[in-house]
Symmetry: C2
């Protein structure tokens, strides 16, 4: 078993071409992609992907939730493969890179190995996980969550979209309801390449983010009840203004997150005043809030801090604030051995890099609860994602794919190398 040459590279032009070719399936006039999971455009890209994987010598199977597994054989087929890949579905006004880069780069890794005549000890499995985005069906990342045992397959199959169409029916319509039980395909490890979807790598001019953690999340639903009254006739001291109280909650969430920096974040993204009118003091409103941190203890502290802040605001302003914690997801701690493998590959390839926490959820975060997993980030322009303006450079995408290639080579072990790469 020899070590693959560190100058072995994926075919940058081929990867880039695939990204733009698949972007036609659901392509939008603004250069983005609208490819809702299990819709006709998703079928198009799935068919394209299956053909491409088969052309690359892989055997493709599909599980009961439509997740696609393309196996490149290894020398020792008794060992579960190294899983690589991501997802091919997009947001309603999504971009060309979110999920797609990781899936097509995984395919490209296989092709690069084929071109270099490399046989690995352990097989490789290129994956396309169903419904990562969660736009058409809730929850997001449903297939990997079911794989990790968070939901039963039956539960997910019965979920309905806005038109009442079940996941089961949608899978049948596009002929991607596979025979294999969810979880049947085992893995030795899983590595996912993804755009950062945040601004850090770009701001610090780093090519590669070695992802060592995924943020834990607490979601809240809240309501504030003050008293709706006439904006002209109610003196300031007699008001119970729900919006003024809410404004203090917004700033409290912001301050708590800042005080627990640099990795904690806190956001209020939604507020709805009941029967709003320009000359009525808001009496009742509803809002959502969230905290994220890579540290479980920090999530605890943020939660406790918010409870205290909210109690103070409610008491001082004589309003009622209800804050319900509707979801808590513990931080993801990616496997040290795999993270080191990503770091080593990055180092050997000479790319500038930093350790980074994933702020968004990814299939790899779900899979990390049941197998060793890791992620590789590359920069995206202005940190923009879930947007038709989403962009990344060919050089960065290529670098990420190369890191994926060399991580996989290290993990899978090179059994034989017919010809030298580069």
């Amino acid at each position: 078993m020899t070590k693959a040459k560190s100058n072995l590279q994926i075919d940058s032009a081929r990867l880039w071409g695939d990204i733009f070719e698949t972007a036609k399936f659901g392509g939008t006039p603004k250069g983005g992609v609208r490819r809702l999971t299990l819709g006709p455009e998703d079928k198009q890209v799935r068919d394209w992907f299956r053909t491409a994987c088969e052309k690359a010598g892989c055997e493709v199977s599909v599980d009961a939730l439509g997740t696609m597994f393309a196996i490149r054989r290894g020398r020792d087929m008794s060992k579960p493969p190294i899983g690589i890949g991501s997802h091919l579905d997009t947001q309603p006004t999504g971009g060309k890179f979110d999920g797609i880069l990781g899936t097509l780069a995984a395919l490209e890794v296989v092709r690069a190995m084929n071109d270099a005549g490399i046989e690995t000890e352990v097989p490789i499995c290129v994956c396309n996980w169903t419904n990562e985005e969660g736009s058409r069906y809730a929850p997001a990342m449903m297939a990997s969550a079911a794989y990790a045992g968070e939901y039963t397959t039956e539960d997910i199959l019965s979920r309905k979209d806005a038109d009442g169409i079940t996941v089961a029916a949608a899978l049948d319509t596009i002929s991607y309801r596979g025979a294999d039980a969810v979880g049947k395909q085992k893995f030795s490890a899983f590595v996912e390449l993804h755009i950062e979807q945040g601004p850090l790598l770009e701001a610090e001019h780093k090519t590669i983010g070695v992802v060592d953690r995924g943020q834990g999340i607490i979601w809240y639903d809240g309501t504030i009840s003050g008293f709706a009254s006439h904006a002209g006739t109610t003196p300031m001291p007699l008001r119970k203004d729900a919006l003024a109280a809410f404004s203090e909650v917004v700033l409290a969430v912001e301050k708590l997150a800042r005080d627990h920096g640099p990795h904690a974040v806190g956001t209020i993204g939604e507020v709805k005043i009941d029967n709003p009118s320009r000359n009525v003091i808001p009496g009742d409103l509803a809002f959502s809030a969230e905290f994220r941190s890579p540290e479980s203890a920090t999530l605890d502290a943020l939660h406790e801090g918010l409870q205290k802040a909210v109690a103070k605001i409610a008491a001082r302003r004589k309003v009622t604030i209800n804050l319900e914690k509707i979801w808590r997801k513990e931080p993801t701690v990616f496997d040290t051995r795999l993270v080191d493998a990503v770091a080593n590959a990055t180092q050997e390839l000479g790319y500038s890099n930093r350790r980074i926490t994933s702020g968004a959820g990814h299939d790899a975060c779900n899979l990390a609860t049941v197998m060793p997993a890791a992620m590789i980030f590359v920069p995206c322009k202005d940190g923009i994602s879930h947007n038709e303006l989403e962009d990344a450079t060919q050089a960065d995408c290529t670098a990420g794919a190369n890191v994926l290639l060399h991580t996989v080579l290290a993990l899978a072990g090179v059994a034989s190398e017919a010809k030298a790469g580069g």
Copy 2:
């Protein structure tokens, strides 16, 4: 010309009975009234009112905007009458007192004079102004505004409701498009009794509010543009959170109003985030804001203070805040002689009282720009108005009507008194 006995009283039971009888026209299951201007219920109450005024010996005329004028003759018919009254239309979920008390109390004043055999020097005119509420047609107080020359009659006649029905068509449908030009009916003065629609009289246990001013108003429409980005992947220092900036604007409006207390008020009643989502940092939002004060100079100071606060918030948070002043109404200063007449009547009747500023707009505020005008307030329960829960006591309503009676007697002058009241 003799002075009417100070113990002359209106008939409390008759007034209270009228309030509940007319509340049937558009009465709601919750005890409120839904009587949109110029609708079928408004026609019912208008017909009832016309009959009642005629029974009380008045001659009723209607102007081109449907405002009803019921004249009780005076000794000197060369003098324009003292106008009294208010409006009979309500909010969609309105109460039994807003406007109605003032109109029915004016009718009751005429009846009380009839019962006491009093002839006044100057005639009296009981008024029902069309569309005070502004729920079906904008602007609110449209008939008195047109009377005061703010709008032409043609402009108002062409205004449409949500179903596209013009004021002209609505007036024709209920046969209340009168022959008289708007403004033809002249007045020596106008006095309006109204519920306070605020909490001050009740909180201070005062029966009568002697209204000496009406608040001036500035209305704003605002937008904030930050940058919408992923709540999980955007570190706190790199955010341009439009909602956090807005929260500071809300608190700045509140602080400015408090700092210019006790009479100034400031309110933000509406906010709408563009494409809100629980895990997206708000990028763009729109809001409205308003300030009110009885002093023009205070309105100036509030406006200037808000400009400065907004500029600071925008600069510190690197967001764009646009704030457009869409309307400014100068404070109403009610006529000193009339305000004193209200105060004297209150004093003679022995009611507890305080000077008060009207926080809401009223027809009397419009009329004050073209004639001597004044208002009388009575408490309403918990300051609640524009609500089916709107409530006032029989004793307070009676007190207000008695103050109206004695104010009118003082202003109109008693020519003869056939029999003593009380």
